[in-house]
Subunit: 427 residues, 2 copies
């Protein structure tokens, strides 16, 4: 049988990169197994919209099994599981359910939050690195507004209505903008017992500008747009810790708040790789060569945010953005499907961030867009990148509705956390 001569490729993680490898690789040569700890592909660029009640999580999630029914994926199977160990000597990937032999493995597990060792920070802040975290953030923000609406203790009320976002990258800017819209447009209509002036949204960034990875102009435009939404932006301010509802900074200042949204650091998802001394080189990222092979470990590849690849013009490595992951995936899939290999070359198609409706910034080479045209471009690119027509349609409807009434229909404190999954195979 031909199938028995096929080699097995295990892909760890079904994000933009992992799915693209599965899509482009030659399935007549490879038996492909996609392993993920969720049963769905998710769309991190829009997590902040889930957190701010603009979209429902299901609209930016797509089940792997549905996607893999497509003809491009014939020969790819989905295996649900958390990778507990990769043994580079035995060449196996272990999850809580099974041990899979591999001929090659692609790490495409992306990143998670980095708390830089600040003690207990993880327990007290809210984060946006997964769908579940975004839903939690939404529920917690709504819970604070409900609590404040009934609160007569001045100091608690002030803490409840102070929202601090730490980190001035795209996610930080986007969630701060969404909170600003809540303050400016929603409170008055829906929370009559809260004066909008009582709500305070603060964005704190350690550098002297916002959106450090984009152009100076984009950073300045984002700052202006946030100020229009009455977000207080504090630049050049380094956070020290957050203890007993007090957020303190290196300059000695403090902010009392019940809500800190942490977007200030990411690190590669930890994967226990055994049988080698090779370790991630920086912030959980694996050093890869021009072919995305992890240096020093045979048959192990890494792509996307979990990889660190040097390239001309990128002394610190290629940026951790979806287009890099998808382009690396395509090149890697082709290299694994042919006798000859070509080194990866990144084509930068530009970058974008949004602050609120009619407010976005786009850099394409030297070209800079802002305001409504940038915002429409941002929406178009994100709509088209979603998997599934149903999702695109539902997101489009939500955005159109949201444009007129700020998506108030989605400010739901849905609480499945009241009923934790009972399966004994929980992590």
């Amino acid at each position: 049988m031909k199938t028995q001569s096929k080699k097995r490729l295990v892909i760890v993680g079904g994000g933009f990169g992992g799915l693209s490898v599965a899509h482009y690789i030659d399935k007549s040569l490879w038996d492909v197994v996609l392993v993920d700890r969720n049963n769905y592909h998710s769309f991190p660029p829009l997590f902040y919209q889930v957190a701010s009640s603009g979209l429902e999580a299901s609209s930016i999630s797509f089940p792997f099994r549905r996607e893999l029914r497509g003809r491009h994926y014939k020969g790819v199977s989905f295996h649900f599981g958390d990778v507990k160990k990769i043994d580079t000597v035995k060449k196996t990937v272990e999850t809580q359910f099974e041990t899979l032999h591999y001929d090659a493995v692609v790490l495409a597990a992306g990143t998670t939050n980095n708390f830089f060792g600040i003690p207990d920070l993880e327990k007290h802040v809210f984060t946006l690195k997964s769908t579940a975290e975004a839903i939690r953030c939404r529920n917690e923000v709504l819970a604070r507004l409900e609590r404040a609406a009934l609160c007569r203790d001045d100091s608690l009320r002030r803490r409840l209505l102070t929202f601090v976002v730490v980190g001035g990258g795209p996610t930080g800017v986007e969630i701060a903008g969404a909170l600003g819209e809540l303050k400016r447009f929603v409170l008055k209509r829906e929370y009559p017992s809260i004066d909008p002036d009582e709500m305070r949204v603060v964005l704190v960034e350690g550098n002297s500008r916002l959106l450090g990875a984009m152009s100076e102009r984009s950073g300045a435009d984002a700052l202006k747009a946030l100020e229009q939404l009455m977000v207080e932006v504090q630049l050049g301010k380094t956070m020290k810790n957050y203890v007993d509802k007090v957020l303190s900074f290196a300059d000695g200042s403090i902010i009392e708040t019940e809500t800190v949204v942490w977007t200030a650091g990411i690190t590669g998802v930890p994967l226990p790789i055994e049988g080698t001394d090779v370790r991630p080189v920086h912030a959980g990222r694996w050093d890869v060569d021009a072919f995305n092979a992890v240096k020093g470990i045979p048959d192990l590849y890494a792509i996307g945010d979990i990889a660190l690849q040097q390239a001309e013009g990128y002394p610190k490595g290629l940026p951790q953005v979806a287009p890099v992951a998808m382009q690396q995936a395509k090149t890697l899939a082709r290299n694994l499907s042919k006798e000859t290999r070509e080194p990866f070359k990144y084509h930068d198609k530009g970058s974008m961030a949004t602050v609120g409706r009619n407010r976005a910034v786009v850099d394409i080479g030297k070209l800079h867009l802002n305001g409504r045209v940038a915002w429409l471009a941002w929406m178009g690119v994100h709509l088209m990148s979603l998997l599934g027509m149903r999702n695109r349609t539902v997101v489009f409807i939500n955005w159109v509705w949201g444009y007129f009434n700020f998506s108030s229909g989605l400010r739901l404190m849905l609480r499945p956390d009241r009923y934790p999954l009972r399966s004994y195979w929980n992590e």
Copy 2:
């Protein structure tokens, strides 16, 4: 000031009944406070569709604050909270956040699961009496399929693929039908490593027929429709207990299963009412007179599923369905708004249940419908009863999509339970 002479009405629960009272009562006479433990109105008739991945929870939930912006609700305020105590002497309603004085209070909190004292049953079965429970049920069903897809232990695999629904009322019939569709139409396309014949769906009912509250013909049609979906229906079978994955029955038979969906009993939501000896008369329901006043407690009213109201032709009290709650609410609101009172009179507009696509049953007086026409009627009635145009549109899109591809885009094991709400005001 006029407002100071207004009396205060506290409504406990914002379901069909509670919202209708708030809608119809004269707000120039009453200062109305709506208290609910969720920040949204939910739509119990479609919980089973959330549980079976047909709809997203947000599509059948609607935020109170959004709804209360409508002109009919001017003068109604929403207070988030769990009612911890109602003191009928001091005339106060206490939640974890506040104590509200009332001149009149309406109990409209509905029902929750009744486990009839079977020890630990609550901990091992899945239920469908709230949005959060429905999401849990969805996640657990999907988790079992994922686990089975990788399972090589025959006996575990069999248990994982055996789904038992206990209770042959509308909810039981509906969820069993949805599981039957999963077996019949979805497994083959999306779970190549599971043979559809391996999956077993069993519906168990203690009585000798299904849908006891509907016509004989509806019960028989529902049975036929379920059999077409390869659901094993076991009638006249009384469940004893469910211990160590073994479901046992009064007749000595057993079924080994990892999944029991319990739809066999409801009871009024427990509300601690103090200062009186009056207690609920049956299954948590409060005995009310023809004006929905709770007998023996002044200024306390009860409507909907939590009330037990005798009426001609209903020796056991009016049925626990949405139309009763809404009609009682309207009459009560008018009675509280006028000098004269009229007794409640129920207008039965019929009842319906659905088994799967093109399969439903409808009773309207002597008229009986089944098959596709009943199914279209069922969809129309439920679409129109949803709050909010966005929800109606999104549900409609999901149903159209689902008709062609069985809504596979929503089979998401979204896991906010990984991140329980941290607020100190949790229950």
